[in-house]
Amino acid sequence: MSGEDIRQQLDRLSRRERGRLIAGLVNRLGHQHLELAEDVAQEAMLAALSTWQYQGTPDNPAAWLTRVAHNKAIDRLRHEARNQRLDEGVDIGAAPEPEPERIADPELRLIFLCSNTALEGVDRLALTLRVVSGFTAREIANAFLAPETAVAQRLSRARHKLQRLPGPEASPPSIFEIERHLPAALKVIYLMFSLGYAPRSGEQLVRRDVALEAQRLARELADTQHTNTADAQALAALLCFQVSRLNARESESGLPVLLRNQDRSAWDRSAVDAGMHYLQAARAADSPSRYHLEAGIASLYASAPSWEQIDWDAILMLYEKLEALAQSPVVQINASVARAFAGQAEAALRQLDALADEPLLTHYAPFHLARAEVLRLLGQEDRARQQFQAAIESGSSAPVLQHLQQRCLFHH
């Protein structure tokens, strides 16, 4: 294993452990101590790494960290109690009595807390990345392509808002209310994945980890009793299909590789299989969600033996349902490409031409690329070349892309 691999593993271990520590502490102390839980988890990580720096990583880092974090939390609470002249004898004690009608897993409870609809959409995403998934403010800033200070302020505002919520509004949902609380949690995970998967500039490794983390959370929900609704299964399916192509969609020099040129043998078959499994389980839905439709489309790409054998008619049918459901220009762009490959290139071009007045699309590279593809299919090579040029010129405008994505994703 190379030093770089070890370093990446260590980053992942740090994030997972930080998230696990925070989840355990919030579970015991309550959401009003979220900030304390984060601070203590950070201190424990720092203490751990300072020691491991010379003595090597212990066999059971999780146990080591839990013990250190537990002790630090008791110290902090005693200190606060003394300052407020409260009784001594503070103890964070055992985990609270399990309530059979509530979600029990600390990490799942934390996902629901962070996706609380009292917070703005972007704040839910940032806080989930930070608190559940253990990314640092810097890593989140990298993924958001935003200044680190802005991200830190956003996190701090969101955290304080959550901490001040009265207990009933912040408590984990009962198993009878899952259907009401789950959509917000699923959306956070969906957005987390989009953030990590989008082929933009920025710290690539971090972005990849963000995408993988979203997949992990989706599978966690899909695999757990009570949260394993049809929509959760569909989201897990979608993310598994997308993850299966993570390696194949990027060339060795880091350039994006189009689906038709991707080396299908580089697709992660186990991820495809997992996707098919979740998609099967997702069929119990009364009506298909956006996740169902997107997962269905992804499954058709994944199951086609070659680019030439893709079932474009089936894909277009799903896209048409998705267009009706999502009302988003990004979906329309993707749908138009499917439409063109399904033999309706002229209708696809009309659809794209109608989108040309949308000011935000002027600098959105995928829009110009889609137009170029369709024009090329129609044999209009000169116009196609112009559109490729427009795509290249808009390629660097990551903030526009981000704005557009968020606009489309948050208001559908």
């Binding site: 294993m1 030093g3 070890i6 370093r7 260590l10 980053d11 740090s14 950070q42 990580m45 720092l46 790494l49 300072s50 020691t51 491991w52 720096q53 010379y54 003595q55 090597g56 990583t57 640092t136 403010a137 810097r138």
Partner: protein
């Protein structure tokens, strides 16, 4: 195999004012190196030294005196030491070349551990 001590000095104010994330990023490089060296079977332990002023105990033959170490006047302090196993100085130097201390600081002193 002989044992070699790697002494890792740094400027007294090297880590002052560093954000926790920055500091963590630095020490993660060290943890990763120690992991690698352990996996390679060449790491034999180490200790980080605290970043306080330490004490200096002196004797003029009659009287023992204790002083705080004059940190403000020195250009470097010893941050810690690691023990590695290597055939000879050349091998120890080769192992040290990848050490993150050279990236985050500037100097490693290598001394062979005397063994009979």
């Amino acid at each position: 195999m002989a044992k070699f001590a790697l002494m890792l000095p740094h400027a007294p104010d090297r880590y002052k004012g560093l954000s926790e994330d920055d500091y963590m990023a630095v020490i993660k490089d060290y943890v990763a190196w120690v992991e690698q060296a352990t996996a390679d079977g060449v790491y034999a332990g180490g200790h980080k030294l605290t970043e306080d002023t330490g004490r200096v105990v002196t004797s003029n033959g009659e009287k023992v005196e204790v002083h705080d170490s004059p940190f403000t006047e020195v250009s470097e302090i010893l941050g810690g030491l690691m023990i590695i196993e290597a055939a000879d100085y050349d091998a120890a130097v080769a192992i040290s070349r990848t050490h993150p201390h050279l990236k985050h600081n500037s100097k490693i002193e290598i001394r062979q551990v005397h063994e009979v």
